[in-house]
Symmetry: D2
Subunit: 306 residues, 4 copies
Amino acid sequence: MSNTPEVNVVLGRNQYGKAENHVVRVTKDGDRHSIEDVTVISQLHGDFDSAHYDGNNEHVVPTDTQKNTVFAFAREGIGSPEDYLLRLGQHFVDDFAWVTGGRWGARQVVWERIAVDGEGHDHSFFRGGSGGETRTAVVKLAENGAAKHVISGLQDLAVLKTTESGFVGYPKDQYTTLQETTDRILATNVTARWLYNTTDIDFNATYESVKRILLETFTNHYSRALQETQYLMGKAVLEAHPEIDEVKFSMPNLHHFVVDLEPFGLDNPNVVFWAAHSPYGLIEGTIRRESLGDTDKLWDGVPAFV
Amino acid sequence: MSNTPEVNVVLGRNQYGKAENHVVRVTKDGDRHSIEDVTVISQLHGDFDSAHYDGNNEHVVPTDTQKNTVFAFAREGIGSPEDYLLRLGQHFVDDFAWVTGGRWGARQVVWERIAVDGEGHDHSFFRGGSGGETRTAVVKLAENGAAKHVISGLQDLAVLKTTESGFVGYPKDQYTTLQETTDRILATNVTARWLYNTTDIDFNATYESVKRILLETFTNHYSRALQETQYLMGKAVLEAHPEIDEVKFSMPNLHHFVVDLEPFGLDNPNVVFWAAHSPYGLIEGTIRRESLGDTDKLWDGVPAFV
Amino acid sequence: MSNTPEVNVVLGRNQYGKAENHVVRVTKDGDRHSIEDVTVISQLHGDFDSAHYDGNNEHVVPTDTQKNTVFAFAREGIGSPEDYLLRLGQHFVDDFAWVTGGRWGARQVVWERIAVDGEGHDHSFFRGGSGGETRTAVVKLAENGAAKHVISGLQDLAVLKTTESGFVGYPKDQYTTLQETTDRILATNVTARWLYNTTDIDFNATYESVKRILLETFTNHYSRALQETQYLMGKAVLEAHPEIDEVKFSMPNLHHFVVDLEPFGLDNPNVVFWAAHSPYGLIEGTIRRESLGDTDKLWDGVPAFV
Amino acid sequence: MSNTPEVNVVLGRNQYGKAENHVVRVTKDGDRHSIEDVTVISQLHGDFDSAHYDGNNEHVVPTDTQKNTVFAFAREGIGSPEDYLLRLGQHFVDDFAWVTGGRWGARQVVWERIAVDGEGHDHSFFRGGSGGETRTAVVKLAENGAAKHVISGLQDLAVLKTTESGFVGYPKDQYTTLQETTDRILATNVTARWLYNTTDIDFNATYESVKRILLETFTNHYSRALQETQYLMGKAVLEAHPEIDEVKFSMPNLHHFVVDLEPFGLDNPNVVFWAAHSPYGLIEGTIRRESLGDTDKLWDGVPAFV
């Protein structure tokens, strides 16, 4: 069988690599240990045409090799997921002429010291990171490493406010049955991703700061729409962090319905709620610096939303 | 079609009810709000034979009614999942002559106050509960409520120690390839359930105490086998809590393999690990008071293990 | 630290082993290949006290060895998951004096031949098994293998009937709001497990027969309650299969609510439904031969329901 | 608090709507019923700036209204998920001046008739669709409906070939340990999405045809790389379907490792495999007509890959 491409069918954008490399790196400062726990994906971009067209693998750095490299590079330590991925990516574009770039991603989970007699233990940990969210990082390299971009984020930071939220003034049509309210529960799982304009930064400290800003801004205003709250959250991040140019959010509106207890002879002054699983609202938006150019290409292949 | 049972086919043990009733109860002490978030299952035991044999529903308290009751009872507040389920269960055995007992269960998630300027906010929360575990409670009633039993627990409390664990001295046969080690990572997600000998107790405080004991005991010894660690964890709970008679554990041994970096010219002094997804070890055991009688019936229908 | 048990704290029931051993066995009859795909758990019962009490592993057949054995035994072929597990279990009770029994389980997925020009291909397959269900098998050995029991089953066989189902005549109380109906959708995911009274049987053929009976019985009557339908399904299995003594079911009642389209000027003669995710009804029951003794011990540790 | 945007922070791309609307539509042709089962997401594009900037909802068609519309439009029937979503989308751009477009998506599951006495039953069904895949459809409208695009697809079509696959000739570096092979299992879960160049088509028939081509092409060649197989699959679709312009794939390489049975005195001529869960290879690519222009914008917000 000849795999020579037909005149009118060609290979378009493509990438390949190894997913779900779960690396645990222990650092031992004498008896005092610490843990970095990242699950890494490596995806290469470049000239792999002959593999697709002709089953010729001479450019195909095996996904198994990518996996080995991920683990070998952890020997030097992680530091931050972003820095670690930048080192990994640079290696691939440096060592293989036909690898022009790629996408490297990580999810990080946090381990906290178990308290014994009020002190954090030297080598025993529990899965921590209050909020239950997962930290994410994506590094994208292009132009043989001349272009580097970092997109950090968090997934599923669950937040809820029991009041100071309403929804009124919306348009009505023949399909509208929703009643207006000036006092409701607002609950969402924040998934956010932010684009840095630098790679020279303390990514760990910035992550903690962004997370704190998201939590505080969710809290500090009466929400007239989840859209407004999302915008304020993104704006606060950009105002505090000049090294961030753009924030993208995906935030479900997790409906908490006031249960009608009247049939049972009971009132319900907004105290008993049914937390519905589905359907749910979904509010996705981008908040960015006005001066920023088109960044759409940078978000390609990032699990973003809009 | 006649559904009269054949002489030799009969209905055995059965139960029915409504699952996944997700109740969020907000308590408002002026501007200071608090949240209780429980997902409840109600399952009735009793005489429902005619529904099975003849499609006669005169004894079938609808699952929809059970759901309504779950929400209505939340109007009075939750308190603890155990107390709430005890009240619920008592209602069903009291109000329906043919309902002799049942099983009521709950999962609880914890919401913590978002810190603003160092203070926990009045009405804004994030999903907390360090450790990521889910609290569980099961209440079982029998004999029209004369017999009441409470089994509390937690699921998936992830813990890990980077040293002070080994595995040696095991039997070898023709299928053995494992190497002995005196220094390994020990990691597990603790799922535990404990049987109380009373219903008159501060269930919330006891939960926190048991969780703390589990964490501390996981930490405070060199583990020669996950079996030993599990036993010590259960023993410590029973020694500290005379109101608990029995603890059951299901603990995966989540293997963290030292990555062989020699092919890449690197050493690996127990610092770079591959956290394998599967297969995994699974250690399940019961630790109980020696004087305790047969409790097997009490664990029926509880998602227990052994 | 001495791990000698306190006078009043002892080890109760326990088991341990390796979970999620995913074995794919290819049988090559010349160019004609076939696939058996099973995910196996091995759990040993016996005298492991010293590991729990004293961290002495001399009885602890490593879970790694159990894994190796699972794969090695696949060299001879699988045949049926039940037969394979029986061979595995017999090995452990035969070869280790202190292993008195255990529990071995498997989930099986089916691969069907891809049709090319109307013929099933020799070596290309897709994940098949119409219905999407997972086949399950559990083998339990006790008394050093003198007692052998097999419990087979299936999980999540999704079925739905668009009519010939109703729910009337149920008791009403102050929490009842449900309306009676004589025409509704009945939908469930059947999870069933059945206890054999023999190990000398064609397990594959019986599985197919039981599945067919479950589907046909779900279909062939007006359902006055899911309880009735469940009973009829179990009864039909027992009537057709004398080698089966008992069937246990867990069947959610997956509510399909008729959507009220009146606000939009539309009727809805039972044609547009909202398939709600949760809460859902849950009907669990046992259908068994009247002459059968107490089998509760046989179901210990099986993911059963009631 | 003023939400007036700072001079340099603005709203970028955004969308909102209702997710996970699970619609079951029954069509009753006398006693002969049929089922369409789709889970729909509706997301609107347009001018919603004032909601984000000022909490002014006068343009915010409630997500609840979108949900109601989804169910109301099902009254007319579904037909195909693509046609249904096109009707839905057109409604929103027609009825709301500021809604310029949007994204509407659906997952469809198939119900097949239960066979009774060899005949498909009138109103009883099981979850079918051999292969276990989920059918997907996305409709995108822009320019007030002047631009319409349809992207159909399938998720997780599991396929496996037991031979006729190898991997040789790849580059080696210091991190390479993989051995070459000319006979391996090739297994993947195909996720594919294809872009139509028309909306006037029998979407259901085309779906079945594309699925058949994907299965047959996976089968009909010796695979020298998963990249080659993926390219051939896409090429075959484009050659058979002039109404399709582009296909995107995400295909994990699900490793089936030959188990080393030598330590146990057994050979293993490629018959016993460990199906590893992770890490896994991931091969993502686009196959398209050479004449096709830049379609990147059309794929925005579609869960695509590269």
